[in-house]
Structures are given as C-alpha cells and as structure tokens.
Symmetry: C2
Subunit: 225 residues, 2 copies
DNA sequence: AAGTGCTTTTAGCAAGTGCTTAAATTCCCC
DNA sequence: GGGGAATTTAAGCACTTGCTAAAAGCACTT
C-alpha cells in the first residue's frame, strides 16, 4: 500500500480526479469503486492497489483540497496590506475565491461531515490550521471568550460562505436569477463583504461603548471615594 | 400504498421514528430498511407496505419535521409584539428554539441536500413557505434586490444557525468547552442575536446615509436649476 | 534467456441492498 | 362463528457493494 499516489503517478491521479468528480454527485455512499475505475478508464482493482480502501481514496481527495486551500490562504495572507478592515475584506475574498474556484469542495466537506462521524476527525484535523489562522487574524479585534470570540466568528463566516453552496441549488425554484450563475455569485460576495463590515462596525462600536462605560464607572468611583 | 401513515397508525409511527433516529447516523445511504425494521421491532416488509419505498419513507420523515417547523414559526409569529428589533430577535429565537429542540433536523436536511439532487426539489418545496415568511417579515427593512435583499439575508441567517449544528461536532477537538453542550448552545444563541443586531444596525445606518445623500443630491439639483 | 519487481487484469467471494410475492395471521362486521 | 379485508410474516430474487487472491503482462538488469 506504499504506492506513490501523488501527481507523479499518472494512474493514481486519474483515479483521484475521477473520484473527485463523482463524489459530489452522491457523496461517499453514492461512490462505488467500479464507477471510479470506469470513469478513470482503469481496472477496478487498481483503486485498491493504489489507495488501499475506498475510505483511503476519499481521504486523499479531501487532503488534496485542503492542501490547496491552505496554500491559497497563505499566499493571500502574505499579500495583505492596509488597515484592518481592508485586511478582513482581503481574507474573505481569498476564502470566497477558493470556494468559487472549487465549488465541489464545500459540498464535499458538508457531505462527508453529514455522513456520520467517520470523517469528523479527519475534517477537524484539516480544519484546525484554518481555524487557528482566523483566530490569529482576529487577535485584538475579538474577545478571548464569549459570544464574540473568534470561534463564534469563525463558525459564522465559514457558515455564511459555505452554506451558500449547499443552499444555492435549493433556491433555484425560488429565485428569478440562477443562484448558481456568476451574477448571483457576485451578489453573494458583496453580501458577505457587507456582513463583515456590519460585524466589524458593531465590534468597534461595542468596544467604544464599553470603554465609555468603564470611564463613567471609574469616574463614579472617584466621586464616591 | 394508501395506508394511513400518520400518528393514528402505531406501526407506521414506530417505523417513522426508527428511521428518524437512524437517518442522522448515516444519511439516507447509511439507512437500510432492515435496520429500520429491527429498530422499530417490526418486519422488514412492513416498511414497504406502509411507505412504498425507502425514498417514500425518508420523504415522510422530513415532511413531519417541516410540518412542525412551520407550526412552530407560525405560533411564534402570532405572539410577536414590540418594535422591529424585538420582533427580529423573537423570530431568530423561534428559529433557534426549533433547531435546539430538533437537533437532528438541520443535520438531516444538510445530509439529504448533500446526497445529490434527488432531494433538492423536495427540500426546496418545503423551504419555500419559510423563505416567503422571512421575505414578508423583512419587507420595508431590506431592499427588493441586490446584496441586501431578503434572499441573501435568508441564506445568511439560516446558514449561520444551521451550520452551527454541522460544525459543532468538528470543533470538539479545537474547543475547551463541549460545542454540543448547553453552555456552547447559549453562547451561540447570544452570538446570533448580536449578529442580527449588527445587520439591523448597519441596515438602518445605510438607509440614513442614503437618504442624506439623496437630500444632498436634491439640494444640488435645485441649486443648479 | 532467465530472473526481478512493479503494474494491471481476471474472476470471484461474502455480505448487504431494495423490494416483491405469497402465505399466514389478525381484525372486525354480519 | 363465517367471511372478507387489513395487517403481518417468511422467504427469496436480482443486484450492487468493498475487497481479495492469483495469475498475467510489462520493462528491466544480468
């Protein structure tokens, strides 16, 4: 089972890409080794020769995505300049850019997360660096604990972005525009930007209010003493 | 296939509840008619006697949820008083309350939506009244089109609420608190309230800015003429 | 030509799937 | 208690699944 399964191996790559394409159509349970082999144009047994098991194959597929994901965010982070608000927008853009370029990815992750705890650990493992990345980026902006902690903001922003991709196909019958089209995508991106602004502005306003309250309390104490 | 499958039929109800419990563990593909029958303590063939097919069974399970969901929101709407902000909070609370009381539901919907387009139409069908409900509730607050239209706000709020339930199990390794526990749930609710406030406040602030711009523009036109 | 190590193919097992059919059972009205 | 309908059961069909073992093909060195 120690076969080279990276891009240097042509057969393994063909299998990976076939699995990637098929996964989004039916989740992991809708995926059969035979279908993958047929799509890749190789023999069924080769799937197991290269990846050991179906689970192993799927794990490699999502590993590949997360590698690209982390790389994309890292290179975006390096290029970030300007004030905090601009940097927040750049972060969100990098995130949305990746999802737009890999529309299958958020659906795949959601599908795997939904198909029982078999993949929870794996996804959590890959999610961790991204989570830490956001945590670091929000240092000084968000409090350490409570309803505005980085963890909550992370869940919200990632939920807002990724849930778009799972909800869009359901909205087809409700919307005039095609929710999967580029116009709707641009509109969604503008909405997310607006939302980030709304959160940022309230965060700042709350902090101002709190410090004013502090000042008033300090004043009252001084007057009282 | 015209058997009574509502609450009056004990056997059908047992099957429904068994399916409901099992669905969350493995999605629709992880669900087998035999497992349902065993869990319900009935014969395997009865599943098909009452529900025709596995697909039919699952459809009834989610129908039941959506019936309760709509009922819960309707009774909450009736009891809503106060200003707009208070009503928005009440809406969100009713929504979160339902999800907290039926934690399997958001995961089930996500699981089905993720397992291919077979259920897209059905979910979209049940989602429609809720979507219209939000659209109506946001009348006068949100513009008709663009990035702040009710449709975008709907996707965002429902995404923020439901994605919590799919992400919580993944956060277990990253958090100090148990994300599935009641404390984290309360914190999440507070976060969603805060988020709704942030959106509401920015919506109001944007409207003020826009009308001031309008006034300035009108003034300029008058002076120019 | 024989041997070597990797890759691919063939063929199939064992288990599980959705679903059907026909017989057995229970229920209820007369 | 008889008879017809509704319900429940046992048994199995036809098919797909993940996965494996053994053989075959291949390029390569010696």
């Amino acid at each position: 089972m120690n076969r080279p399964t990276d891009e240097r191996n042509e057969t393994a790559t063909k299998i990976l890409e076939a699995a990637d394409e098929l996964l989004v159509e039916g989740g992991i349970d809708g995926l059969s080794s035979r279908a993958v082999a047929t799509r890749a144009g190789v023999n069924n047994a080769l799937v197991f020769y290269y990846f050991g098991s179906k689970q192993g194959l799927v794990e490699r597929v999502i590993e590949r995505y997360y590698q690209r994901h982390v790389a994309a965010l890292e290179s975006a982070t390096d290029a970030m300049t300007g004030d905090l608000r601009a940097r927040l927008h750049a972060m969100v853009d990098a995130y949305v850019d990746f999802m737009e370029a890999h529309r299958r990815f958020p659906r795949l992750v959601q599908s795997l997360a939904a198909s029982g705890p078999a993949f929870h650990e794996l996804i959590g493992h890959h999610m961790a660096p991204l989570y830490r990345w956001v945590e670091r980026a929000l240092e000084g902006v968000a409090p350490k604990t409570g309803p505005l902690a980085a963890g909550q903001l992370y869940v919200t922003v990632s939920g807002v972005v990724t849930s778009w991709y799972s909800q869009a196909p359901l909205l087809a019958a409700l919307w005039d525009k095609d929710p999967e089209g580029p116009e709707a995508g641009a509109e969604r991106r503008a909405h997310v930007h607006w939302l980030v602004d709304a959160m940022y502005e309230k965060l700042v306003a709350d902090a101002r209010t709190a410090s004013r309250d502090d000042a008033r309390r300090t004043l009252a104490e001084r007057e009282g003493g």
